[in-house]
Amino acid sequence: MIHSRHRQQAVDVDAALATLLSPVVLFFALGFGAGLGRSSLAVPEAVAKGLSLYLMLAIGFKGGVEMNHAGLDPTLLRTVVAGLVAGLGIPLVAYAALRKTTALGGLDAASVAAHYGSISVVTFVAATEHVERTLGSYAGFIVAIVALMETPAIVAGLLLARRAERGKGARFGGALMREVFLNGSVVLLLGSLLIGAITGDEGYRSLAPFIASPFKGVLCLFLLDMGVTAARRLQDATAMSTRLVAFGLLMPLVSAALGLALAVMAGLDAATGALFVTLCGSASYIAVPAAMRIAVPKANPAYSLGLSLGITFPFNLTLGIPLYAAAAARVLGS
């Protein structure tokens, strides 16, 4: 028993090392180092956005093709519920933690909380690489959960902001509703998933040389850019207190633990569960910032982006993902 646990730990450490030394993480580290050293290395903004669209299209389509194979999974519905619980619950925990332990005001705390309740698509994509290598294939429907989990936290964050400033700071409205339910990444992920599910293997064969073969390389180039961006965000947020930094490092662990409990309840297998846990542990930097800007204009984006991009994202990419996967393997059985 103890013996096998040792062996298991050795495997975990090997897998974690393999991930840390994978091109994907190394290119991120390269960008991060360049950014910290204020090198002139920079991926043009338009190209970075294009790469991000590509990754979402590819991951959505592949998920859809998987769903086409597997048919409707009985655990799908339970996972949807788990995703909703996480998306609405995590912001409450985050908000309470921020108000208790840091000096952030109500609006800023609400905005940051919304970021942590939502998810990071790139963290998810990087996690699929690790999970496929260590735990095998995952259920395609998890991509639908990715899209689904972008939104509820925005609503939670908004309600928190309203409570914080009685109707003044936070606004609902047409523009916001569009941002919440029709934001680009939700539409692209769900749309590609649907197209993958409709066109199935035939569609996959015709698109594979574009969305499958070069996928990992594109991810490397994208993470190079994410490294530069994360380093800049970290530097912009130099005003951040130690307590805020601690929040950025501990909150993902809290959310991931919650996610693991939910994964058990939803009856997920280890691979799919590891991805679900990663989603819970990750923080948004695309959909939520845009929505919060409209909904809570007086919140300062330097806090939320500094934390989600500058601290939590690098942590998850390097240490978080292997940790979440190892925990999921233990608890959900590999």
């Binding site: 903004e45 970075a48 956005k49 991000s52 003044k168 523009a175 961006t229 800049r232 912009d236 930097y285 695309i286 959909a287 910032p289 845009a290 919060m292 800007r293 409209i294 204009p297 007086k298 300062n300 984006p301 330097a302 982006l305």
Partner: protein, 104 residues
Amino acid sequence: MTLTLHARKRLELVLDAPHLERYLRVLEAHGVRGYTVLPALGGKGSRGTWRPSRLTDASDRVVVLAVVSEELAKELLVDLDVLFDELPGVAFLSDVGVLRPDRF
């Protein structure tokens, strides 16, 4: 030959891209007949220095330029002043001359 220039006001706004629509709605409500939107690369204000946020346009700023009559400018400023309580943004007003007075 010398052309007569007609006095108008040049209103210049710096605001956050996500709020552009709400500002333009104010301009439209007052019947502003022309304006131009320019991109900004970065800057500094009461909320600190900023640069474009790249993957999301949440921290992009734009400059709106509108040449209008003096009366219209005054009316606009009243409404903009109210908006500035709720949304970030700054407004500058100056004098310009235009060639075709019926257009502005």
